[in-house]
Symmetry: C2
Subunit: 468 residues, 2 copies
């Protein structure tokens, strides 16, 4: 499996198949079957979401999938943004339904009528919930597993606040939450405030985390939206203030999806296949017996090591399959991205230790059995850090800082360019380079310069990229 | 909240609302919003399913929600059984779809075309997977939260085997799996092999676990189906045998749903509200401070106790809400069914201990701080056992063994009657008593007697009950 960056798409499809992430052969375009290993990664990420958001005061709920048409149509911008790409349920059994139902493309319009019932007074605020569900979009563009699909495994947090200021504090906290999650996923990213014309349908503004894939394209992996009162007015979500008057709440949302699995596979992939960050790897350590002789003892010992590691809270798996050689097993688990391999053979047993092999660097070491668990723990945390560092370097190396449109056109990765902030200049960039303005970077100081298109003085240095 | 058994329905609705299980006000009939506490119970049960089935060799997958019409219609009996009660997706965006899509009512017809791709040879068998998803039924009967809904939170295991014998072994293992799950849910049940006319659409036969609700009605809470080759022939799921020929697999399934939450609430409920088995309670121990004086110290100590219990792996919550009295908190957590309460006041602190109060019996005891964690652990396991025992007794007390049709008609619970096995006699029982034959009990020895209707000699003693 070679990994030339221009053939990234083929490599990606091949890895998804060989590593058992998804099966694309399900007979509906853009809807795939999650296989056990892939679903294991997704579930670990879901549980990471749960842990972090619960710690930050959110409660988990679970809303129905279907939304009645009248309820769906209440917020004008939102329906403009989503109306053309939803699936419609029109019949139940043989009967035509009185009210058509939408498969949720996102849950604002399902949730907010309930918010209007739940939120009564300032004592109920801030109000913070999340859910992990599937959402559905009738994509007309070409679909790609994990990256652009019609059934999307989705995380969405929704909050309500007394005023705009408190909603803004939530967005700041969301950014901190995202940083924590990105670290656990070992994902480098840039935060961009999307241009007006590219914000979420119904939002005041949208902030997105974008990461860079091996082919240089930008992949949006998380979004935070400030809604202000755009939804609370049509859905009549009001609270009683301490002074006895009623006020509409201000709202925010935070969204992430299965794209994160695609991002991890893409960002960390190499010619041997996937590399998974230890924090979310379904198997953190694979134990491969090398039974050159004393087969039974070696197999038994491999199983003992699996049990010792599991008892220590490490996700371990001993590969005791009889029909494969150790060499095949190395290849197989490297492809599947298991961060650390333990090799155990008769000589290691005599010497009272095991061999550890890192997936990220290939480094090997012999370690005594009486300290091997601590060593593994330390190595897993080193691998986690090293993967993030190396992905960050890789990302930086793909970004060309330039104000020369020809250089930008030729560059395969992202550009970082001066931009005046106007839509017509962004459109010109797109026409000339096929790259689009990702927005205004958050938390980065720009230098003064002149817009790459119109030459106007500006302090905005925007990232521009082809996108998924 | 009184709990006369004839008012069970009202009590049930009231508990769901007050305990924060579900919100029924979502604007689609039979589709409800899971609230954080209710969803916490459901998630604990899901995780129990995961743990048990994974240990029994099943792997978790996740299939798309939608099924193309042609694929759905392949097995004739199945479509006869489900065709009238599915939701149809007919449009994507503004376009009419070329192939209509069904919201899965269950996943046989989604999964089995993929099984045909995945299963190649005898080495792939037995093949065992499960998934936890939502299924959809366009119910025309009256809906009831958790018990009869249109969006159902569902567990389904699917297996494939070399021959009928091995499939039968799976059903036997399923029964053992069910016993283990029922013990953790503290649910009493009877296993019934459903009559021919009441089996799953497409099955050779169906076995169901039925429990009894306070109003005497039977609630089906788990089903195991033997499919034989009924699906593998139309879906062409074949494997290569060792002798080089091809053979269709034999299949089974195992299903459970959110009904289990309804069963637990119903079976264990009392006039104070819910009682949750410790194994699946979101909060196993609630800590209530009694700050008659020294408020700050008592509050702090309650928090310390929560932390100590959490560190010991016990799901604990300290209720530090300022605006409620201890008495109100007792009431609130009893309603929500928390198995054990820790009370801590200034006098307890002086005496170096805490007071423990059981939800199931109301028993109180004082326990020293240096042994309180072990004592709580022991009590939680005692409560788990005691809840199952008392529910089993309650179930037995509601079953009238009789062959007298008038007595059966009058009895509010189940009957256990002699039945010849013929459909016409089962129908007569239904006409005369409104109770239906649940099937042939599994693992129970019948005594000889005469059919309650036709008087024919028989060894079948069947349970008969009004059902949900």
């Amino acid at each position: 499996m070679d990994f030339p960056k221009e053939r990234f798409s083929e490599w990606f499809d091949e890895v998804l198949e060989k590593a058992g992430i998804l099966d694309k052969r399900y007979p509906i375009k853009g809807m795939n079957v999650w296989l056990p290993y892939g679903w294991g990664i997704m579930r670990n990420i879901d549980n990471l979401f749960r842990e972090v958001f619960t710690r930050h005061g959110h409660k988990e709920v679970y809303f129905p999938l279907l939304i009645p048409e009248d309820q769906f149509r209440k917020e004008a911008e939102h329906i403009k943004g989503f109306g053309g790409e939803v699936y419609w349920v029109t019949h139940g059994g043989m009967e035509e339904l009185d009210v058509k139902l939408v498969l949720r493309p996102t849950s604002e319009t399902a949730m907010y009528p309930m918010f209007a019932l739940w939120i009564r007074s300032h004592a109920d605020l801030p109000f913070r919930i999340f859910q992990i569900v599937d959402v559905f979009r009738y994509e007309t563009k070409m679909t790609r597993p994990l990256l652009r699909v019609r059934q999307i495994h989705f995380f969405e947090a929704h909050t309500a606040h007394e005023d705009y200021e408190d909603a803004e504090r939530q967005i700041e906290e969301d950014i901190e939450i995202w940083k924590e999650i990105a670290r656990k996923l070992a994902l480098p990213y840039v935060l961009n405030r999307r241009p007006e014309w590219d914000k979420f349908a119904g939002a005041e503004y949208s902030i997105a985390a974008d990461t860079i894939m091996p082919n240089g394209r930008a992949l949006q992996v998380a979004t935070m939206h400030e809604y202000g009162k755009n939804f609370s007015v049509p859905y009549e979500i009001k609270y009683l203030k301490e002074d006895g008057t009623h006020e509409h709440v201000c709202q925010t949302t935070f969204g992430m999806s299965e794209r994160l699995v695609g991002a991890i596979i893409g960002v960390h992939g190499d010619e041997r296949g996937m590399k998974l960050p230890p924090e979310i790897a379904p198997i953190q350590v694979v134990v491969v017996p090398i039974p050159s002789k004393k087969k039974e003892e070696v197999m038994r010992e491999a199983k003992v090591i699996e049990e010792e590691l599991s008892a220590a809270g490490i996700r371990a798996h001993a590969d005791l399959r009889d029909k494969y050689t150790p060499g095949y097993k190395f290849y197989d688990w490297e492809l599947r991205g298991v961060p650390l391999r333990v090799e155990i053979g008769p000589r290691d047993m005599e010497k009272g230790g095991v061999v550890l092999v890192r997936r990220d660097t290939g480094e090997k070491e012999f370690v005594e059995r009486d300290v091997y668990i601590e060593r593994i723990r330390a190595l897993l945390s080193e691998i986690q850090e090293a993967m993030l560092r190396s992905a960050e370097e890789e990302m930086r190396s793909k970004i060309l800082v330039t104000d020369d449109i020809a250089a930008l056109r030729e560059h395969a990765g992202w550009g970082k360019v001066h931009w005046c902030g106007r839509q017509e200049c962004a459109e010109r960039i797109k026409e000339e380079t096929e790259k689009q303005v990702l927005g205004t970077p958050i938390g980065e100081m720009g230098t003064k310069g002149r817009c790459i298109i119109c030459g106007e003085e500006t302090e905005i240095q925007a990232y521009v990229a082809k996108t998924y």
